[in-house]
């Protein structure tokens, strides 16, 4: 599904990713771990075409297309979803209107009809009640005045309704209580149908206990320096980065 080769990315003229290679196949769950500043968020931001990230070398192939040729919205409509670490507040834009527009745009991109209001309401009811997500969030303006937890739950509602193929979760567990982390896991696990893939960034084992990764990658100084299975995350949790031979290159 996604093949990243020798990817080099600058932010503000500073090289953050320094030749990163990663291959994610259909149905796989990958976890990306690493010390602060290693480049984890830069990778997912690059994949979703964030304006900060300048690709200087390398290639990204997604569903056999050159991802770097696609703009932000096209990437989303091709099935890439990035859950924001800090979802942006957009006062004046109703959450429900935003979501209906996003679903319609995705359908139009695929050559289908826009979603009608009744189908949209039905979809909302089905998906939110399945995971006990508060659909009242949809009556408010997009993320405006939401608590940290509400913002993350709103990201989950978007994730469910947009039904992407590549789910990227950038520290979605940060600031969430145990029950909320379980909700995240329930949503993601329910979506895993053998075709969807996940790339999740986390610092904690808690989320990985609930969404078992097939691969755990350790990112250090802009490159993946170690890859293993879930046991690598357990080892990291026990010994820390230095204990598994990862030196903080930023020091």
């Amino acid at each position: 599904m996604l093949e990243i080769k020798d990817l080099k990315v600058n932010i503000n003229d500073k090289e953050i990713l320094k030749g990163l290679n990663l291959n994610i196949k259909e149905g796989e769950v990958h976890a990306l771990m690493g010390i602060n500043g290693a480049g984890k968020s830069t990778l997912v931001k690059t994949l979703s075409a964030h304006y900060d990230c300048v690709v200087t070398e390398g290639s990204i192939t997604y569903k056999k297309k050159d991802l770097l040729d696609l703009d932000v919205s096209d990437r989303a409509n091709e099935g890439i979803f990035m859950s924001f670490q800090n979802p942006i507040e957009v006062p004046g834009v109703n959450n429900s209107y935003f979501l209906k527009t996003a679903i319609s745009e995705k359908r139009k991109y695929a050559g289908e009809d826009e979603i009608d209001t009744m189908d949209f309401l039905k979809l909302i009811k089905e998906q939110t009640s399945k995971f006990n997500l508060d659909k009242k969030l949809l009556q408010r303006d997009l993320n405006e005045g939401f608590s940290g937890g509400e913002k993350k739950r709103n990201e989950l509602i978007q994730l469910l309704l947009l039904d992407p193929d590549l789910i990227m979760l950038d520290e979605i567990d940060s600031g969430l209580d145990v029950d909320a982390i379980k909700t995240v896991a329930n949503v993601v696990n329910a979506m895993l149908d053998g075709k969807k893939s996940v790339l999740m960034i986390t610092h904690y084992d808690r989320l990985l206990e609930l969404i078992k990764p097939d691969f755990v990658h350790i990112l250090n100084d802009g490159q993946i320096v170690k890859t293993g299975d879930y046991s690598l995350a357990l080892e990291l949790d026990e010994k820390g980065y230095e204990g598994i031979g990862i030196k903080d290159e930023t020091k």
Binding site: S48, V93, F98, L162
Partner: protein, 344 residues
């Protein structure tokens, strides 16, 4: 007829601080072929001679050419807004028109005015005077949609009595040369005054809002809130002066101007200004100028909404804050369904 040539008429000079940066030169020097009083399409209204001494000289232009003032008195609550539609069709004509709206004690009322035109090189110079009596609640909305190569000089004088509420909302859509001159001297107690405007300009629109608010009585509120979204070569001036005098204890005076510049050539001169002579009050003023928030744009795009649509959604969100502030549901509906083609 040239305004500059009218004997005894004192017009603002280029250097007058109150009107600095306002583009009067063309209007004052243009030689109009005709002058005409624009009559209202309502029968039976009282007509008086306008003898009031206004706060600045721009009110004197209309008075000088025709000092008759039509008086619309609202004695009881009205369930629907009164709509006044003004269409200027004649070219090369300087129109004047003066209306006083009196809202009697304890009455709730609303009025909508629309200014449109199909003319060329014409001007519409209007005086409006609102008298909002004790405990009255008056909501007024204006749509200005005056074309290129035409002028609108809109002078508004507001007189509020004790415990009255007056909310004015302006929608500036046209691309002519527009000057709004709005004065409210709050001499009485516990008045609530709100002035909201959306200035949505494009092409070579030139719009100026000169606002003067003076707090003399106790416990009154003035809240001035402007949103500008400026495209192409449009130019806008926002000059607001709110003065709180020595006896106006417990006043609240707020001014806010937010501007989104949608092209490199659009420009705003924003000057919110407070003059505070006491300590016992709440006051704030501010002006922001920028473009649409790129993180908000990215967020919308990251969910599949293309750049142009995301841009439109964010712009509408910015502009709709003025619309959302309207209290009267029927005024909202009117504004919502407004299309220029239906009024020209």
């Amino acid at each position: 007829m040239r305004l500059n040539d009218i004997e005894g008429l004192v017009l603002p000079a280029k250097k007058d601080e109150e009107f600095i940066k306002v583009n009067f030169a063309e209007l004052f020097s243009y030689d109009f072929k005709n002058t005409q009083n624009y009559n209202f399409d309502i029968m039976g209204l009282e007509i008086r001679k306008d003898t009031k001494k206004y706060a600045n000289s721009l009110f004197e232009i209309t008075k000088n050419l025709d000092n008759k003032q039509v008086v619309l008195t609202i004695n009881s609550n009205i369930p629907e807004p009164i709509c006044l539609i003004h269409k200027i069709n004649e070219d090369e004509t300087f129109f004047t028109n003066s209306l006083k709206i009196e809202v009697k004690e304890n009455v709730k009322a609303s009025v909508i005015e629309v200014f449109t035109n199909t003319s060329t090189n014409s001007a519409y110079c209007v005086n409006r005077s609102f008298e909002v009596n004790e405990n009255a609640d008056f909501e007024y909305a204006k749509i200005q949609d005056i074309n290129d190569v035409n002028y609108l000089l809109f002078n508004l004088d507001i007189d509020q009595k004790d415990n009255s509420k007056c909310k004015v909302t302006n929608f500036e859509y046209g691309n002519g040369v527009i000057v709004n001159n709005i004065v409210n001297i709050l001499d009485n107690k516990s008045c609530d005054y709100e002035l909201n405007s959306l200035v949505k300009s494009k092409d070579s629109a030139n719009t100026a809002n000169v606002i003067k608010t003076v707090h003399n009585g106790e416990s009154s509120i003035s809240n001035i809130n402007f949103k500008h979204s400026l495209k192409d070569h449009s130019r806008t001036v926002f000059k607001a002066l709110s003065r709180v005098n020595e006896k106006a204890f417990y006043s609240k005076a707020f001014q806010n101007s937010n501007t989104i510049l949608l092209s490199n050539d659009a420009a705003i001169y924003a000057q919110p200004h407070l003059e505070i002579l006491i300590d016992e009050l709440e006051a704030s003023h501010g002006a922001t100028t920028g473009t649409l928030d790129k993180d908000q744009l990215l967020y919308l795009q990251s969910r599949g909404i293309n750049k142009n649509l995301a841009y439109e959604i964010l712009l509408k969100a910015f502009e709709s804050k003025i619309y959302d502030n309207i209290d009267d549901k029927l005024i909202k509906e009117f504004i919502d369904s407004y299309e220029r083609k239906n009024y020209v």
